[in-house]
């Protein structure tokens, strides 16, 4: 397909909820390709011997984590004005996805928009199953935020390093059981962590370990609540989570 061919990008926001969280991100990509095919989405295909649908995923979700804010850009073989009935397209896709993967919002964006992975600046995580009381969690959170440095040991490709992740931790809020403002329900205290994505970033399980001493992936639960990009100093979500598939041309809002 040459540069002059009509094209636009369908930006999807989706949820990963329940047992499907155990499907790894590679397999999730495959399931998306299958769903796009079955829903007959007019996706653009890559060139070459084995044409593949042109999909660009946002930051990968760690296996075993749930999410209310996953993103996928689907490159369409149509100009934006020729894409009929985006809500129906989103619903058709949703029907073809496995239980627990749900499209929650959709937008059409310009093809020149920065990629999801490049533009993501801050992630908001919910952590629970940390094995402590609300008070204990609050004390640990305050201590971490008051500290100048927070060191963790990492091993990468056989090499050990000690990194200071304090600069990546933008905020820690402890929510008492039942006091959660978030859309899902847990019966225990929950921590909402805002984390900067720059550089090596810090993984949610690492936050649980370094701040709360809870590193067991079997008991610590993780859910991504939001991904934010920097809009001239203000943070905005890529697509608003109002829970319905909607059609809003961000070009109109000055997105370039």
């Amino acid at each position: 397909m040459n540069a002059a061919a009509p094209s636009s990008v369908l930006r999807l926001r989706y949820r990963v909820d329940g047992a499907v969280r155990f499907v790894g991100s590679r397999d999730l990509c495959r399931l998306w390709e299958q769903a796009i095919r079955r829903a007959r989405v007019p996706v653009a295909m890559s060139q070459g011997f084995t044409p593949r649908p042109r999909l660009a995923f946002g930051l990968a979700l760690p296996t075993c984590a749930e999410s209310d804010a996953e993103y996928l850009d689907v490159r369409l073989a149509r100009a934006a004005e020729d894409v009929a009935d985006v809500p129906s397209l989103a619903e058709a896709l949703d029907r073809c996805l496995p239980t627990g993967v749900d499209v929650t919002a959709v937008d059409l964006v310009d093809t020149s928009a920065p990629s999801l992975q490049e533009a993501a600046a801050v992630i908001t995580w919910a952590l629970w199953g940390l094995g402590q009381t609300t008070e204990e969690l609050r004390d640990a959170a305050s201590a971490a935020l008051a500290a100048d440095r927070l060191y963790i040991e990492r091993e990468r490709k056989g090499e050990r390093s000690v990194d200071d992740v304090r600069g990546h931790l933008l905020g820690l809020t402890v929510v008492a059981p039942g006091g959660s403002p978030v859309a899902f329900h847990v019966d225990e205290p929950l921590v909402v962590a805002d984390v900067r994505t720059a550089g090596r970033s810090v993984r949610p399980l690492e936050v649980a370990a370094v701040v709360f001493g809870a590193g067991d992936p079997g008991t610590v639960r993780i859910r991504r609540l939001a991904q934010w990009f920097d809009d001239n100093g203000r943070r905005r979500e890529f697509v608003s989570p109002d829970g319905t598939a909607k059609h809003e041309l961000l070009i109109a809002e000055g997105w370039r």
Binding site: G24, R26, D27, R37, R40, P42, T63, T219
Partner: protein, 648 residues
């Protein structure tokens, strides 16, 4: 009705590929269990990625769940990491749909595709919390049954199973369900087992006694176990011989209707449509062909409909038309054209073309023409299975492909744009000489040279496996080559290949072939061997990372069975085989005569298109081939092929 999910959920983050254990596949069912309903747990004794695509299991899954009085769920062998956690935390084997403990099902039914999964079967019975030995089970324990090709000699597992089902499962599974349902709670376990013997195709080992001759010594004075004198039923109404079940009309069983689509990546991840069952080519080494006679084709229209509906539903972009020899489907040309036409007409996304895979290609130029028709895009690798390096040896094994046929096919393949060929061969065949072995490389080398006329990238990979004689075949009397002998032949091949450009050799571990041979023609005494291997930690024996021949040879030594006697000995005409009371329909005399014919290097043509030589199956079961056409696909004339003719 309990679920292990809450405990399991906490363990999954610690293991690799937790998606293996969550179910949730498209097409998965959540049947209701309860009063008047027989609960089946269909088990594939290997890891999820290997077991999920198994068609046999999916067919039975759908048939059972269509009934009001049956509920079927599935389970697969947990990988070693989860198994360790399960044993540590007291979590039993569970179904992937509702995560129900295996022991809460009424039937635990294993699909046995090969010999080396035997230790996994034991492991899964144990993980289920069911007594390992059938004799120790009570009326509250599930029935443990096995089916599939390797169930045609189930004797090595006789101590551990309650029943084996021989042949096609579609009809018999309903009869089993009915018998179990009407028995439930109304008698002892032994009464149920006795009732099962009245169902055609169902073999209950505990209803038969085996008599052995006294132990003796061989020609070298080494102690050898006594042979089998007889296998006889222990009650009058138990059949002396159990005959296999054969579905006469595949058209009545258009399954699977909703092929399972997994959440994680598995093998054979395409739309699989069975186009026929059975094979009459009569390759003498091939158990699958021998035990699934006669040929029953699916009607061409039904194939087309199943493909079209399956693609519409699943969104797959690849189809596989499965059978033992798909190019032999009588209407193969028109069927393929029909499928491609349907696709062209229905495609509103023309870039997403569908490609058709034809596993088991016949070795001739016609078949290459078919492959050309269906392979879109770049053509990389094509596979043929000549099985032997010389025409002489091919006549012995009855794989009647001449060198000219093979070279014409290869030429056609390279001319059509393929650059890599894979050729499958067996080594250790009856009457094989070193010249036959070296001929494999010479043949491959000639193929490379042919290929180089069309492309400089032409390469041929020779893939060899050690021949393991199987039950119910003309070669069941042949003494298997030793591991050392197989290794020597592999070295011969590798040395020869080093001198030839473009020829690569890959080979199956000869030690694994030896272990397969222990189970393949084993009798009940091999059960103790399998148990020892399992207790020594020998699970996933099909996987090279876990397989060690030493566990098997140690186990044999511990029970006093010499390896030579069990695997490498030639059997004579007086041998009473462990499966003598189980029938795939083939007359014993037919098999013996075919064995002698093999040694005389005499071939036997395909009886679909030539005269019947009365192997016993059709006359014995009063059935016939179901084929759409009286002439073989690709033949240039309407005259049936004469015996002694040279075409494939």
């Amino acid at each position: 009705m309990t679920s292990v999910w809450p405990e399991l959920e906490r363990l999954l983050p610690r293991v690799r590929k937790p998606g293996r254990y969550i179910g949730g596949e498209r097409g998965a069912q959540r049947p209701a269990h309860g009063e008047g309903i027989v609960s089946w747990l269909l088990a594939y004794p290997d890891v999820y990625e290997v077991g999920l695509p198994n068609q046999g299991l999916q067919i039975l899954y759908e048939i059972l769940n269509e009934r009001d009085d049956a509920a079927a769920e599935r389970t697969y062998a947990p990988w070693v990491d989860l198994e360790a956690e399960m044993r540590d935390h007291g979590i039993p084997l569970f179904s992937v749909e509702s995560h129900r403990p295996a022991a809460e099902f009424h039937v635990l039914a294993f699909n046995l595709s090969s010999e080396l999964v035997a230790t996994n079967v034991l492991n899964m019975i144990d993980l289920a919390g069911v007594p390992l030995h059938a004799a120790e089970r009570t009326a509250d324990d599930p029935l443990v049954i096995v089916g599939g090709h390797a169930a045609f000699n189930p004797e090595p597992l006789a101590d551990f199973i309650d029943a084996a089902v021989l042949g096609d499962g579609e009809e018999v599974v309903g009869e089993l369900n009915e018998t179990i349902r009407s028995w439930r709670g109304r008698g002892s376990r032994r009464e149920l087992l006795h009732r099962l013997t009245s169902i055609g195709g169902v073999y209950v080992p505990s209803m038969y006694d085996v008599e052995y001759a006294p132990d003796g010594v061989d020609a070298h004075g080494r102690p050898v176990p006594g042979g089998i004198v007889g296998l006889s039923p222990c009650a009058e109404d138990v059949p002396a011989v159990v005959d296999k079940r054969t579905v006469a009309d595949l058209a009545e069983w258009p399954y699977p209707k909703r092929q399972l689509q997994p959440l994680i990546e598995v093998v054979h991840d395409r739309l699989n449509i069975e186009v026929f069952r059975g094979c009459t080519r009569g390759c003498r080494f091939c158990q699958a062909g021998m035990i699934t006679r006669p040929v029953r084709e699916r009607p061409p229209e039904q194939i087309r409909t199943m493909v079209a509906e399956g693609l519409e539903r699943s969104g797959h972009d690849q189809i596989s038309l499965t059978s033992l020899s798909t190019a032999d489907l009588s209407d193969i040309g028109p069927v393929l054209e029909g499928i491609l036409d349907d696709q062209r007409r229905s495609d509103d996304a023309p870039d997403c073309g569908v490609s058709i895979s034809l596993p088991s290609l016949r070795v001739d130029a016609f078949t290459v023409g078919l492959a050309e028709q269906v392979t879109s895009g770049r053509r990389a690798g094509l596979t043929f299975a000549p099985e032997a390096g010389t025409w002489r040896l091919r006549q012995v094994i009855n794989k009647l492909i001449t060198d000219e046929d093979l070279e014409a096919a290869v030429d056609a393949a390279f001319a059509a744009g393929w650059t890599r060929l894979k050729l499958y061969f067996l080594i250790g065949l009856p009457s094989e000489t070193d010249d036959d072995v070296r001929a494999i490389v010479e043949l491959a080398s000639r193929c490379v040279e042919r290929g180089r006329r069309h492309t400089p990238k032409a390469s041929v990979t020779v893939s060899v496996g050690g021949f393991v004689p199987k039950a119910h075949t003309p070669f069941q009397w042949f003494g298997q080559n030793s591991g050392d002998e197989l290794a020597r032949k592999v070295a011969l091949l590798r040395a020869a290949a080093r001198k030839r450009r473009g020829v690569q050799v890959k080979w199956h571990d000869p030690d694994a072939s030896t272990a397969e041979g222990i189970v393949s023609r084993g009798d009940r005494r091999i059960g103790a061997v399998i148990e020892r291997v399992w207790r020594a930690g020998g699970v996933f024996q099909e996987w090279s990372e876990f397989f060690e021949l030493e566990r098997w040879t140690d186990a044999l030594a511990a029970v006093g069975l010499p390896l030579d006697h069990v695997v490498h000995r030639h059997r004579g005409p007086d041998e009473v085989f462990a499966w003598t009371h189980l029938s795939a329909g083939l007359f014993h005399d037919f098999l013996w005569d075919d064995w002698r014919a093999a040694l005389a290097e005499s071939g036997l043509e395909d009886c679909r298109w030539t005269h019947c030589y009365d192997c016993g199956v059709c006359t014995g079961y009063d059935i016939d081939h179901v084929v759409a056409s009286a002439t073989p696909p690709g033949s240039v004339s309407a005259v049936p092929v004469e015996l002694g003719g040279v075409s494939a």
